[in-house]
């Protein structure tokens, strides 16, 4: 299952594009894999694309937020991109605003925020 969440590396950036529904166990494994990849490749930034999520509960949201904070401790800045309106509304209504995590509208913006400009 984990095979379907590829971790791409573009220069010093890791890109995680999650397209499938995460079970709790897969989410935990994914966090671990990302941190290992950061250690292995010495990356400086991480982009997590969650466009594919049509809902995110507090469990997955916590893992995303924690991954971002752990990555920061390892010197890697994270930005989460592509959150859908429904997901944002739901999380905020539940009282989880994911403070301390950075967000961008889409991949382009996310990379821009991290100081990368994709050549056009």
């Amino acid at each position: 299952m984990i095979g379907s969440v590829p971790i791409l590396r573009i220069g010093r950036t890791l890109l995680l594009s999650i397209q499938l529904e995460l079970s709790d166990a897969v989410a935990e494994t994914l966090q671990n894999d990302v941190l290992l990849a950061i250690e292995k490749h010495g990356t400086s930034s991480l982009v997590i694309d969650i466009t594919g999520f049509d809902f995110v509960d507090t469990y997955v949201a916590r893992i995303l937020a924690e991954t971002s904070k752990m990555a920061r401790l390892m010197g890697t800045e994270t930005v989460i991109v592509g959150m859908r309106p429904e997901v944002a509304a739901t999380l905020v209504r539940m009282g989880y605003t994911m403070e301390g995590v950075r967000f961008a509208l889409d991949l382009d913006e996310g990379l821009g925020l991290l100081g990368h400009v994709i050549a056009r």
Partner: protein, 137 residues
């Protein structure tokens, strides 16, 4: 008066059942004319409550019902377990309190996502949470 159109019972026995149950809820909610925000809300609440049954009570079951009051459709989900129950319900419902070192926003958060939220719990006996989400006019 609320009438039940369909009813299924799904066991919650392993972690994958969290995925199974919330998927079923998402499909049912989509069929019942709930808008995308309502679908996300009820799916998320379900995810939280099923996980609670599995994590905090070691298993139980979910009952999913499509309901109507004659003019609108709704979805009702009931989560039942015979686990340890909740000692300090008031504190749990205020949010931010967890015995599992997680967010502690599952119950309090779900409550804010649905149109109806009822919880019955008895220490040592178990917990039953019932939620409803209705399609807007």
């Amino acid at each position: 008066m609320v009438e039940v159109i369909s009813r299924v019972e799904v066991p919650i026995a392993c972690e994958d059942d969290v995925v199974v149950v919330r998927r079923r809820v998402r499909v049912l909610a989509g069929q019942r004319q709930l808008d995308s925000f309502a679908v996300a809300a009820v799916t998320t609440a379900t995810s939280e409550l099923v996980r609670n049954v599995f994590v905090h009570a070691g298993g139980g079951k979910a009952i999913l019902e499509e309901v109507t009051d004659g003019t609108r459709y709704g979805l009702r989900a009931t989560f039942i377990d015979e686990g340890p129950g909740i000692d300090d319900l008031e504190r749990v419902l205020r949010g931010g309190y967890s015995t599992a070192h997680t967010m502690g926003l599952g119950l309090s958060g779900s409550r804010r996502l649905v149109d109806r939220f009822e919880i019955e719990t008895e220490p040592g006996k178990g917990t039953c949470v019932k939620i409803e989400k209705w399609a807007p006019f």
